[in-house]
């Protein structure tokens, strides 16, 4: 048997400076670590999740220089001087981003595990194309698996966020918003 001795985690010999969610951040870590691991383990940003750590599920997506990347496939060492955005950096001034707000209202988050990655991926889409079609939304999110929702409420939430952003709507965070009706109504609602 070949025995390979890798550097251990406590040997934080690598060091980078990145802009994490708008904040200049220095971090030291073991050089083999992925951005995902450094975010979660060395920087305490556990909002970014993992479902396979092999680049298959999309749950670990973050934005690097505004583009969605799978943080489980990216060495943290490659992120020196880069701009990284995670779910923790989506809201501003204590308010939710319109995408977060719409996801909450429209039932787009069930277990919530794939949600952070889908949110940042959707943000990258809207940053590039403020008015995407349903088909473009489907394409943009096709690398993010969700096992709960069947995706429909996610698509609708992205579309709702587009409307809210266009209206200059800021967050209505604070409490539940009973005013929103689902777009595809229940039988009872249909008859009304």
């Amino acid at each position: 048997m070949i025995s390979i001795t890798l550097p251990t985690e406590s040997q934080k010999s690598a060091h980078i400076r990145l802009t994490l969610n708008g904040e200049e951040t220095d971090v030291s870590f073991a050089p083999y670590k992925t951005l995902l691991e450094v975010l979660r383990e060395d920087l305490g940003h556990t909002g970014t999740k993992h479902g396979c750590e092999l680049g298959e599920c999309g749950a670990c997506a973050v934005l690097v220089e505004g583009k969605p990347v799978l943080s489980c496939l990216l060495l943290a060492l490659e992120c020196d001087k880069k701009n990284v955005l995670t779910v923790e950096g989506l809201g501003a001034d204590g308010k939710l981003h319109p995408l977060q707000d719409a996801f909450a209202d429209m039932g787009a988050a069930q277990c919530g595990y794939c949600t952070p990655a889908i949110l940042v991926t959707a943000k990258a889409l809207l940053d590039q194309n403020p008015n995407p079609s349903r088909e473009q939304i489907r394409q943009a999110l096709s690398g993010n698996l969700c096992r709960c929702t069947g995706y429909q409420q996610i698509f609708e939430a992205v579309e709702e966020a587009i409307v809210r952003i266009a209206k200059g709507n800021v967050s209505i965070e604070g409490g539940p918003s009973p005013s929103l009706q689902p777009k595809i109504p229940s039988g009872r609602l249909r008859d009304e």
Binding site: L54, E56, F103, C111, L145, G150, P176, Q181, S186
Partner: protein, 823 residues
């Protein structure tokens, strides 16, 4: 119960109470827990599907720098398992491994990578045994036995039940249909990998956080294996990043980190890799089903005989219950006057199967609904009309003694027929395009707990604060389905508050009363009814104190808008917080308890414990498909579904459950497949998982998901809280057969096997072209030595729910009795 006409929360589509945590990434899943001095655990898993462990030497691993502890089978020898009748697992295999991935040792180290490395330093000597790949091999290969318990050889469980003389039923039929179907196994694939963190708390007791759907059952398993008083163990179910049934068993990794934390006196974490999640499995059983059904010319069913052969995998898990479930619910959708069911589960050397969404009822539902499509065609009756003729009605008692409550199956069928323009499409679309229809029923909570007891299935404690705050404590487990929102919504409705005002403490065995867990679609009805009772009781204290204070009869008081007031003169009243203070001054500290126990079932025969439910949900679906006859490729442009929900407590979440079920059903119908292959003989001929990865285990992406039109049928069910029935599982069931029926409508071939892949369609089309039976599917059902059937006369033949040929059973509560009941 609150006045339904004036409900402010129930029935309103609204943001779930835990939504903010989820969209900000603040929901703390098990692997998000990082504690000071925390060590990491990894498991060494068997590379062989079936072997004896001759020798295990952990000394090199234990000496590796950074390793704190190495455990092997001898450290945790006590057997456990979810069902009292199948205590057949060991946290680390002692002398026998039964599938690739069975754990044999554990390493705990300062760093995860060190633990990984040290796994290579454990020396295990295996003696390879004959591998059993499927039920037919299991029946033919009694030795070597995978387990030394069960019926005989490698047969885990055989059941045989007959409700009325089914041969008489066939004699009275105008036509008798016989069909064999195969439903391939598949897995839950939650995006969250299972994770657990154990600690020895400062008092010396054990706390474990884990991604489990059943903290109460894990609590019991830990107490048994660790030989600790249950009162010294605290299980906290972290919100599950998807469950779907896959986190319902007590797992070896949970027991291992608990033991390691106790030995090391420091926190120990494990997070499974995706490959390991595939080895945990407990997913859909592969099942071969054989249906023999007699019908009159008008479609009336005269009798049905169902046989199921079930591939259980390497352990018992929920399998005994699964076996009964493969024959339980056939009678709940259509009237079947005489019914015979025979089921057989075998052990095989594959990861253990267990409960996945629709538990055990999905596979026979596929066969039943496809066979009905064939019957309708033969009798020249529209399949929707056929089902409307034979649909069960409210308050019926079925041949196998399940008492139905509100049944709106017919209404579901009418709605999907109308919404999909069924009458204009069925057998009328151009070649290559078709529609299919199917229906289903599902439990709203299992009528019996997993271990025999007379205690409530769910309890809720509500605490009232002087400031007007309300805290709800309950064992219910949030797995994404919205159990927290159900509790908050019900309590808020009763007390006239906003759901956002309610604080929730759930899934914690120390804080809340027992709830049996998030399985069998039981939380809404059971925890919901317990919450309703607790809230009403608490409200009673407040009402009495307020009535006294403002001089109004308490019956006239109304709780709404965070106030308690005279319904005849709304300005006369107090704030909710004042009401709590008045009640506390009058009665002392205010709290209330509520609990729920399902009604007694009339199914008194042995095996009648699986299938009864307080009420059943009903679903109908129409699927449209486009099939490319050259490639067999299936595209699904649209699905119409109607679900009999009783009442939608929060329509936003209900719709999500319906569409999520449709999605998962479509995955099972078209692509999801837990497949195995044998290595070449010159290697070891071992049975290995074909693709333990998310890339190769295909599941639908956002590009595969069609538009879904969801309609809810709301007639409140008296058994449900505010009339609510289940929604998390039922809507999955009709999708697979509806796809198969639509493929037949599109290209005229029967695919009697799930998943329905392009390859199978192309093969069936070739058969059709060659003038042979245009079909792909199994053609034979292996011989099983069935035991003598328990004969239970159905209600209309004067039956009382007992079997006429059953040996007297010991009294309830005895150990023997405990074995009879299961999920």
């Amino acid at each position: 119960m609150s006045d339904r006409g004036e409900m402010r929360v129930i029935g309103v589509a609204r943001r779930r109470v835990d939504a903010r945590a989820k969209v900000t990434g603040q929901t703390r899943f098990a692997d998000d827990i990082f504690l000071p001095r925390m060590a990491y655990c990894k498991l060494l898993r068997s590379p062989h599907p079936h072997a004896r462990i001759r020798k295990i030497d952990t000394s090199r691993a234990a000496a590796h720098p950074g390793v704190y502890l190495v455990l092997s089978g001898k450290d945790l020898p006590i057997e456990y398992g979810i069902l009292p009748v199948s205590q057949d697992e060991q946290a680390l295999c002692v002398d026998h491994v039964r599938h690739v991935g069975d754990p044999v040792a554990a390493v705990v180290a300062r760093e995860e990578l060190t633990a990984f490395e040290a796994l290579d330093l454990i020396d295990v000597e295996y003696e390879l045994l004959t591998t059993i790949a499927d039920p037919e091999e299991a029946l033919a290969t009694p030795e070597p036995r995978i387990h030394d318990y069960g019926e005989e050889g490698n047969i885990h469980k055989r059941v045989s039940l007959e409700f009325g003389d089914v041969e008489q039923g066939f004699a009275e039929a105008d036509e008798v249909f016989e069909d064999i179907f195969f439903y391939q196994g598949n897995t839950h694939l939650p995006i969250e990998q299972h994770a657990s963190v154990g600690i020895k708390d400062p008092e010396g007791k054990l706390t474990i956080w884990s991604s489990t759907q059943t903290p109460h059952y894990l609590h019991r398993a830990l107490a048994k294996v660790l030989q600790m008083p249950p009162g010294h163990i605290r299980v906290i179910a972290t919100p599950n990043g998807g469950g779907f049934g896959g986190k319902s068993d007590p797992f070896n990794h949970e027991i291992v980190v608990a033991k390691a934390a106790l030995l090391l006196d420091r926190p120990v974490k494990i997070c499974l890799t995706r490959e390991e999640v595939f080895y945990c499995h407990r997913g859909r059983h592969p099942v071969l089903t054989k249906f023999k059904t007699g019908v009159k010319k008008d479609g009336t069913i005269t009798g049905m005989h169902l046989q199921t052969l079930i591939d259980g995998g390497a352990y018992g898990s929920y399998g005994v219950a699964s076996t009964f479930y493969t024959g339980a619910l056939q009678t709940t959708t259509y009237h079947i006057p005489r019914y015979k069911f025979q089921g057989c589960r075998t052990f095989t050397n594959k990861p253990p199967c267990g409960p996945k969404r629709g538990h055990g009822t999905v596979q026979p539902r596929f066969g039943q609904e496809v066979q009905l499509d064939k019957i309708a065609e033969k009798l020249s009756i529209d399949p929707a009309d056929l089902r409307l003729r034979i649909a069960e009605s409210s308050n019926a008692v079925t041949a196998n003694f399940f008492r139905l409550s509100v049944v709106n199956l017919s209404e579901c069928i009418r709605r999907v027929v109308k919404n999909s323009d069924w009458k204009d499409k069925f057998r009328k679309l151009p070649e290559g395009r078709g529609v299919g229809l199917a229906c289903s029923a599902y439990l709203t909570g299992a009528g019996l707990p997993i271990y025999w007891n007379k205690m409530p299935h769910s309890g809720v404690h509500i605490k009232f604060d002087r400031g007007g705050g309300v805290a709800v404590f309950c064992g219910a487990t949030e797995i994404g389905q919205g159990s927290d929102d159900v509790l908050a919504g019900i309590v808020a409705e009763v007390l006239g508050l906003d759901p956002f005002d309610i604080r929730l403490y759930t899934g914690d065995t120390d804080l809340g009363p027992v709830d049996l867990g998030s399985y069998s679609s039981r939380v809404t009805i059971m925890a919901g009814n317990a919450a309703l009772q607790a809230a009403e009781r608490g409200k009673g204290f407040l009402a009495e104190a307020v009535a006294e204070k403002i001089g109004v009869a308490k019956e006239r008081l109304r709780f709404a808008g965070k106030r308690v007031f005279d319904s005849a003169a709304p300005e006369k009243g107090v704030t909710f917080a004042e009401a709590v203070c008045l009640a506390e001054a009058r009665f002392g500290t205010i709290g209330a308890m509520g609990s729920y126990t399902p009604p007694k079932s009339p199914a008194l025969y042995k095996g009648g414990g699986v299938g009864p439910s307080p009420t059943y949900s009903y679903t109908a679906a129409v699927v449209e498909v486009i099939v490319n006859p050259a490639t067999g490729w299936i595209t699904v442009p649209k699905i119409w579904i109607a679900h009999d929900i009783g009442r939608a407590l929060n329509p936003t979440l209900v719709r999500g459950q319906v569409e999520g079920s449709v999605y998962m059903g479509l995955g099972e119908a078209l692509m999801e497949e837990q497949e195995f292959r044998r290595l070449p003989k010159k290697l070891s001929h071992a049975l290995v998982h074909k693709f333990p990865s998310m890339l190769e285990y295909k599941s639908p992406t956002s590009l595969d998901m069609p538009e879904v039109m969801t309609e809810l049928i709301e007639e409140p069910d008296p058994r449900g809280p505010f009339g609510a029935k289940e929604v998390g599982q039922g809507p999955l069931l009709p999708i697979m057969p509806a796809v198969a029926n639509a493929v037949y409508d599109a290209v005229g071939v029967r695919i009697d096997e799930v998943p329905i892949t392009p390859e199978k369609i192309v093969k069936a089309l070739a058969e059709k072209k060659a003038g042979r039976e245009p079909r792909f599917g199994p053609s034979h059902f292996p011989h099983v030595d069935w035991p003598e059937a328990l004969r239970v006369p159905p209600p209309w033949e004067g039956g009382d729910g007992h079997a006429v040929n059953e040996a007297p059973r010991p009294a309830k509560g005895s150990p023997e009795k405990e074995k009879v009941f299961s999920s």
